[in-house]
């Protein structure tokens, strides 16, 4: 891993308008899917993005790939500001960034043969055709552990794990620099997950790939990531080196997420401090004021309602580790029985 910054996100915001329907009382509003994210990704590293459903991690990934246009903010890829590039100007950059999707069933056209599916990127970018394309596709198939003789098979003839390999081969076709992996193993069986994780790992070593790895399985993220960003309601609430995040979480949300992580080890599972968060993630249409985690936070105080905390270094942590919290969690601090000093609103879904 080098220290060269390959990808820089500055105050990235993505809002989706909500149009009025009869079912929703609100006439109009916006979903604050991504709400001011700063992130830098270095060449050759893996940045893990974790958070609950609806926290904006997939939207952020799609913004990075310019599959969505930003509401505001800036994305720099290498030396180029790609935020405003036109479709045509974007195309040369597209081959430098690819995506692997969660669902190996939905992301492959069932009516097309596997060879052409993997060869599509060559066709789109006019890189190779005819026999050369076929040869390149078969090389890719071999690279990801598929039998090149299966070039003419349909996706339905492959198992889930093999299909995910097809997705990986397609993403690798143009030798990209960045691959965004959006839940690449969560649809797979346990025994197959490790196969795909190891494959991604090997390919990273071989081609110096940079990964943005989105997953809700925290133990897998821990295993693959150099740095981890924890998202909550469209914002990064904590970001830092993996071992810092997992061993010294500062944000109560990070701490709660980690405590909920299932461990396939009875002793660890029993000894763990279990913080059960109250309620559900609030609506991103109308996120809470101040720190958006305050309605569920065991440490919340009035200050958290009034003032949004900046993402900054806490205690004596290394400068790379930053958290957005007014009352960060100290090492060894127990949160399980903490009760907030804050009176909770009677309306909300708070248990």
């Amino acid at each position: 891993m080098s220290t060269e910054t390959l990808l820089r996100l500055e105050n990235v915001v993505k809002h989706f308008p909500v149009h009025s329907t009869r079912l929703l009382r609100r006439t109009e509003g916006v979903v604050h899917a991504v709400d001011g994210v700063d992130l830098d990704v270095r060449r050759g590293e893996t940045v893990g993005l974790v958070g609950e459903t609806g926290c904006g991690k997939s939207t952020l990934a799609r913004c990075i790939l310019r599959l969505y246009d930003l509401t505001s903010g800036r994305i720099t890829f290498g030396d180029t500001d790609i935020t405003e590039l036109s479709r045509r100007k974007m195309r040369p950059h597209r081959k430098r960034m690819q995506m692997i999707f969660q669902d190996p069933y939905g992301s492959l056209n069932p009516r097309r043969r596997v060879g052409p599916i993997i060869g599509d990127p060559f066709a789109i970018q006019n890189v190779a055709d005819g026999e050369e394309r076929k040869r390149k596709v078969q090389e890719l198939m071999e690279l990801v552990g598929l039998n090149p003789e299966h070039y003419n098979r349909f996706p339905a003839e492959f198992s889930g794990g093999q299909r995910q390999r097809i997705g990986v081969a397609r993403a690798l076709a143009l030798r990209p620099e960045v691959i965004v992996c959006d839940e690449p193993v969560s649809a797979l069986d346990v025994s197959i997950q490790a196969q795909i994780i190891n494959l991604l790992d090997d390919l990273q070593d071989e081609f110096g790939l940079t990964y943005i790895f989105i997953a809700h399985d925290l133990s897998i993220v821990e295993r693959v990531s150099d740095r981890v960003a924890v998202m909550y309601l469209g914002k990064i609430v904590e970001f830092g080196p993996t071992e810092q995040i997992y061993n010294h979480p500062r944000h109560p949300y990070t701490k709660a997420l980690l405590s909920a992580m299932p461990s396939a080890d009875p002793d660890v599972a029993e000894a763990r401090e279990r913080i059960v968060l109250r309620g559900d993630v609030p609506s991103p249409i109308d996120p809470p004021s101040g720190c958006s985690f305050h309605p569920r936070c065991p440490k919340a105080q009035q200050h958290c309602v009034d003032v949004e905390p900046p993402l900054e270094v806490k205690f004596t942590d290394p400068p790379a580790h930053r958290a957005a919290c007014h009352f960060p969690v100290g090492d060894g601090e127990v949160l399980a029985h903490a009760t907030p000093e804050l009176a909770l609103d009677t309306e909300g879904d708070v248990l």
Binding site: D189, I192, A264, D265, A269, V276, G348
Partner: protein, 353 residues
């Protein structure tokens, strides 16, 4: 006597492609206040087995026994089973959205369930529904009882399903992947809720999951299934710390755990087998790194392993005293396997990506 005892359950389904042998002889039992975890991957037969005993798999060819308080569920008439299902055996499924009817209010669905099995009036049933929603910690239950499922979040829907499953104080709760569709934080809430309710009402729980992490701290006993057969059964400590069957070992090794930190994950090579033409002998042999000649032709019986401590049994021909997962034990197993292997059995390639 155990609350539920299942013996030698076999289930097969005729399909145009051939007969799918989904469950090929599995036995288990569970008692009140206890949790049995059934772990397996897709196609292992874990869901089919439990759905069959409550009569939710019409069209399957079923043999064996499933005695619930002495009565055999498999030979019971449809009406009798129907009275039992819901009232004495509650069920929750993976996807709480498709388990609730989108057109009916949540409270109405719980009331329907109650009124179907008891002679409560509408008013009483509604009161009971509100109590139940409160029990599973739905905020403002008297108001939310009139909500539609889409107005509930995923976690709240699953809690509503649990409320419905528990409406009539069942003795047994079958939870089929109850937290798979949910976030870890919500998963923790649901697991805590299930344990609290178990303590309170002394319910037996069968927890079906593919996730070894979920059963690690809740199951009293764990059954590992593969290709329709039981591979290993043990109390949870033995299963996690002294696994005997190479499949269990493989599952544990392929997970990121504190014990294999910093090491490369060790996946199980290959793919799960077809259930139309399951492999001869031990179904795991095509993927097993310790395959021996015998494994190819003869299915090992589920026998005592590791001294049979607390009912630890495993279906594997390897010596019963090699239990646990470590590089040394791996070497021991390989050594035994190599001495008992000729050209008949070929170990799967370990280096495959």
């Amino acid at each position: 006597m155990q609350l539920l005892t299942v013996e030698d359950l076999k289930v097969s389904f005729p399909t145009p492609d051939g007969v799918v042998e989904a469950v090929r002889g599995v036995s288990f039992s569970v008692d009140r206040g206890k949790t049995l975890g059934i772990v397996g991957e897709s196609g292992s037969g874990k869901s089919v087995a439990t759905q069959t005993i409550v009569g939710l798999n019409p069209g399957g060819k079923v043999s064996g026994q499933a005695r619930f308080e002495g009565r055999d569920l498999l030979t019971m008439g449809r009406d009798e089973l129907r009275r039992l299902r819901g009232a004495e055996i509650g069920m929750i499924f993976q996807d709480p959205l498709s388990s609730l009817h989108p057109y009916y209010r949540v409270g109405w669905q719980i009331m329907e369930m109650i009124r179907n099995h008891t002679d409560m009036t509408k008013r009483q049933a509604r009161q009971r529904a509100i109590e139940l929603l409160e029990l599973v910690r739905i905020p403002q239950p008297h108001r939310r009882v009139d909500d539609y499922p889409f107005q509930f979040s995923g976690g709240m829907r699953q809690r509503a399903m649990i409320a419905m499953a528990l409406a009539l104080n069942p003795k047994l709760l079958i939870a089929d992947e109850p937290t798979t569709a949910l976030d870890v934080t919500v998963q923790a809430q649901i697991m805590e809720l299930m344990q609290r309710l178990q303590d309170e009402f002394d319910i037996a729980i069968i927890l079906i999951t593919h996730d070894l992490g979920v059963v690690a701290d809740v199951a009293d006993e764990v059954l590992v299934m593969y290709a329709g057969k039981p591979m290993e059964v043990a109390d949870r400590r033995s299963l996690y710390y002294r696994p005997h069957h190479p499949y269990t070992v493989g599952l544990l090794e392929s997970l990121p755990r504190p014990t294999n930190k910093g090491q490369r994950l060790k996946p199980i090579t290959g793919q799960p087998p077809s259930l139309i033409h399951p492999p001869q002998g031990c179904p795991f042999h095509p993927r097993c790194p310790y395959v021996m000649d015998r494994c190819v032709s003869e299915m090992p019986p589920l026998d005592d392993a590791d001294g049979g401590v607390a009912g630890h049994r495993s279906a594997c021909w390897l010596p019963s005293d090699i239990a646990g997962a470590s590089p040394e034990l791996d070497a021991q197993r390989l050594d035994v396997a190599q001495r008992n292997r000729t050209a008949v059995a070929a170990a799967p390639e370990g280096g495959a990506r």
